[in-house]
Symmetry: C2
Subunit: 356 residues, 2 copies
């Protein structure tokens, strides 16, 4: 495998902006999508980064995503709100939902917002990270079209059902967990096809439900946990319950697929859920800050196991290392995406991003 | 391995009650402990069931658990409360915390309660199940003394850090997930020692951090997820953040151990967190109920993978099957616990539970 070409962050941002605006997104939609895609690309979650630009342009063009949405927020009982995204690109819907959740939690201690009628929102960690940067513990979940089997099941049943949670740490980048409840993200299977890599063991099955490491034979992902895959499936169930029964939106099995057939323009009507918790409303920020600081220091000082690949890390630490490197050296872009970018530049008359 | 002797549910309840009252628990503490232990024993979570009675009597006797606690609830901003358990047995603290969370969520849509100064609370699912039975999505987490290594780590760092979530299903027993974020519960290691069973692969390590299947050599549990064990460790981190930094209580590494040395009488000062979400405050119970009913029906009708051990199940389904059987045939008790029960009966002059 060849080392992919790197591009500057500013160059990618400018390219994304010109492409999204040319492709029919309004400024708030484009800004949110750029923030979230660049979050992913800068911290190394390439599966959810700039490589998804052609997908988003496709669904904007078909009308599946509404490029000029009128997002409506209805405040309900005490600490709740319902956000109707009006078919918005998921990034815009999720940043707005988390803003509302944080606003509520500022006064009420907790804020919970269900999200209706949105589309794919990329890396869920973007929104949890933003909440943590405001001083709140933030959680964001959303379902997506079925790609992951049940434990003991053969066929796709749940979305990759990410759970993203961020927690503030005084003077540091947040504790940030952003995990697919599948054993591997679906977008990584596509990325591995493009890069010619082999999948890890026990992360995907073929059409009979038998394990495979060939990304081209992989038909359905397995839930995280291996022999304890019922735990991954239960976590996916949590995401599903908060995203569908609690919002009134479709179950994963009922959603318009993200890939695999041309977009018909029918909205995906995805659901999601944002929660914010204000540490000041419980123990106070000083005690909270002191303990979480001690906790992270303990993780980073823990003794490695014999044969471990490295020093134990806190959730996010691996990503912050990548961020530090990419902010200096630029963001690598895989060959398939480079080709797609060149086609987009041709189609819309755009300037390609600057190489790093 | 011999089939363990079974006892009647009423007989076990009567025995637990007489033992706990003789051992220094007040009636509310005893009642909560009985409810939670019997929840676990009836659904087959034997590691957290009646076999823990001798442990609870030991910590009541030493003063580590306060048998006559004055639990105080301080309502904070909008949807929050802080519960000071005054050293109560964890079952009492957790049922109270979930009651408060549900009460808040009834009016505010969401209720969040931090729990301070409690002790071991058994199976976290007991409290989530209760919330679901009231019509709320309930979550309960609590940390505990370190028993699980970090991903790449050698030594115990997090508690088994259970995450329990229950969701109501109209006319059915709830969707109920109660998962240790370790690959196996610590109590199951002890149970397997008693029963002479071998551990599964990749669930525990020895003193060097190398995997072992011998429950006697197992020194530290691994986080759930195998090669994706960083996900299990992150989930444990979520439990830790909600239980310690958010409550002001100790980190798992700082807690008085549950086992391994005689109780000194020092309180364990564990923390925990209860959350309740009211579906009526978002989409309404009718739509919620219809979708979750459809969701569970889909799970139970899903096609099994080739080589699967059985029909895919929803979280809780395995437990409800065990419940149906045990309500008829009685609850099996492992030999070590039978011996301990006989010693307790001798010590306190109790009647042994009736055999089924």
């Amino acid at each position: 495998m060849t080392e992919p070409q790197r591009y500057t962050i500013a160059g990618l941002e400018a390219f994304l902006e010109s492409a999204l605006l040319a492709g029919g997104a309004d400024v708030p939609s484009a800004n949110a999508a750029i923030r979230a895609m660049m979050h992913a690309s800068i911290i190394g979650v390439d599966s959810h980064g700039v490589r998804l630009l052609p997908y988003y342009l496709g669904v904007l063009a078909s009308g599946e995503v509404n490029g000029h949405p009128q997002i409506e927020v209805s405040h309900g009982a005490g600490s709740t709100a319902v956000l109707d995204a009006d078919g918005a690109i998921g990034h815009y819907a999720c940043y707005r939902a988390m803003e509302v959740a944080v606003d509520i939690a500022r006064g009420q201690g907790v804020g919970a917002v269900t999200i209706k009628h949105m589309s794919h929102m990329g890396a869920a960690g973007a929104y949890a990270k933003w909440a943590a940067e405001q001083g709140f513990i933030g959680m964001l979940v959303a379902n997506s079209d079925a790609a992951v089997r049940l434990f003991d099941g053969r066929d796709a049943f749940h979305g990759t059902s990410p759970i993203a949670i961020g927690a503030p740490v005084p003077g540091q980048r947040p504790w940030l967990m952003d995990m697919a409840t599948s054993a591997i993200p679906q977008n990584r299977v596509l990325l591995y096809r493009s890069l010619g890599l082999t999948l890890p063991q026990n992360v995907a099955v073929d059409e009979k439900g038998l394990h495979t490491t060939d990304p081209h034979a992989a038909r359905t992902l397995s839930p995280v946990g291996g022999e304890q895959g019922y735990k991954g499936a239960a976590l996916a169930g949590l995401v599903e319950i908060l995203s569908s029964p609690l919002t009134g939106m479709s179950l994963s099995t009922e959603l318009v697929p993200m890939y695999g057939k041309p977009s018909t323009g029918a909205p995906r009507d995805m659901g999601g859920f944002a929660l914010a918790i204000n540490p000041a409303a419980f123990i106070g920020t000083e005690v909270y800050g002191a303990i979480i600081t001690r906790y992270l220091a303990n993780i980073r000082a823990a003794v490695p196991a014999e044969g471990a690949t490295g020093q134990p890390m806190a959730p996010g630490d691996r990503e912050w290392k990548v961020e530090d490197e990419r902010r200096v050296k630029g963001v690598p872009v895989d060959p398939d995406s480079e080709k797609a970018f060149a086609e987009l530049a041709e189609k819309y008359g755009l300037t390609l991003p600057a190489k790093a």
